[in-house]
Symmetry: C2
Subunit: 221 residues, 2 copies
């Protein structure tokens, strides 16, 4: 008899990449163990964690069979293959490609350039410079994304069904707010992300609803 | 009777993202029209091109039905769905996730930080600074990638079959050479990319074998 184990998600409440995986797990109704990695104290660089994830990044997902995955696109595609209920990807090839295009714009063209590690390598603890740099890249990326969504969006990023694209969009909008991006030029992005935040799978996965969200921030809210 | 049209690839000989798509098209044996966009002269920002691709980047792929795709991961996944012969993705879900992890490490963790547009925004035309910055991020990314490949590689990135991961690796190694990255710490990456370059699909897609590769570089080689 083999012991049934839960998948594990090593993650950080504020990490937008972690947030994507939390949404997908909620969407699929997968019970998992939450293990907090505090990247604000460098916990992701600890010897123990680097053994699991040589890239020293969050999130890290361990399947119930004990297999390790560290890239959010790979994790979400995997979950969609292994847990086919409530699909996150359209069946039709070109529509799926539109979803993957939006995912990649956010994951490759926007996220890496406003990422904590990258900003710190460049600006250290200069919060003003980091905000300026992060908001520049997010706004630049959102400008192209808004035009893509003008062609693909219905209620959500691509038509009227939730897809992986929405699970990448909502966390990036949360980051945009954090970095004080002026959202007025992006009405479609704003409308979709407002709608997404009314869904329990998205709101429950939000940084403020995680077990490692700091007490002191809760009381000041 | 509808006219049979070829897919079109807007691309640039030196662009490593373009190079990925050229390999995939060669791998699948798909005949296509090559349209050169010279990003060294800013042709990607022309009004005509931006109408097609608001992100003002290469590559841009137009399917034979006239549908437009601009992200390489989306293009390669689309090609694999629509042209199923010679698959670029393993069938087994976790092995496919390993391929996608390697793809994303290259596409998201390495590529954006050594990308021409990003380097120029930061360093202008200072070639020494650009080389230093690009080689820092490539070497940092390759350090994690080498450890991933230690677990997944056979003859190629994941086992003994060519996958999408190889089509992302070879162009990034070409960039690493261009930015003078010391490859000694990366024996697995080097071995795999050397093997890949013996395959016609990879070598024919190389920057030096494209119609827009400059004459003056040919004669100096």
């Amino acid at each position: 008899m083999t012991k049934e184990t839960k998948p594990i998600l090593y993650n950080f409440y504020r990490s937008s990449a972690s947030y994507r995986v939390r949404i997908a797990l909620a969407w699929k109704g997968i019970d998992y163990e939450y293990r907090a990695i505090d990247i604000s104290t460098g916990m992701q660089k600890s010897e123990e964690y680097v053994k699991l994830n040589p890239s020293a990044k969050v999130p890290l997902f361990i399947t119930k069979e004990g297999n390790i995955l560290s890239q959010t696109v790979a994790i979400l595609e995997y979950l969609d293959n292994v847990y086919p209920d409530r699909p996150m990807m359209p069946r039709e090839a070109f529509t799926a490609a539109q979803v993957r295009s939006i995912v990649q714009v956010i994951a490759c063209d926007i996220h890496p350039l406003q990422n904590t590690g990258v900003l710190e390598q460049k600006w250290g603890s200069d919060m003003e410079k980091k905000t300026e740099c992060a908001s520049y890249w997010i706004a630049k990326g959102f400008t192209g994304l808004e035009q893509m969504l003008a062609k693909t969006a219905g209620t959500y990023c691509v038509g009227d069904h939730i897809t992986m694209a929405d699970m990448f969009l909502a966390p990036m909008v949360t980051n945009a707010h954090r970095w004080k991006v002026d959202m007025k030029p992006f009405p479609i992005i704003t409308r979709i992300s407002d709608t997404l935040m009314t869904l329990p799978e998205f709101s429950q996965a939000h940084p403020t609803n995680q077990p490692d969200y700091p007490e002191e921030l809760k009381t000041s809210a």
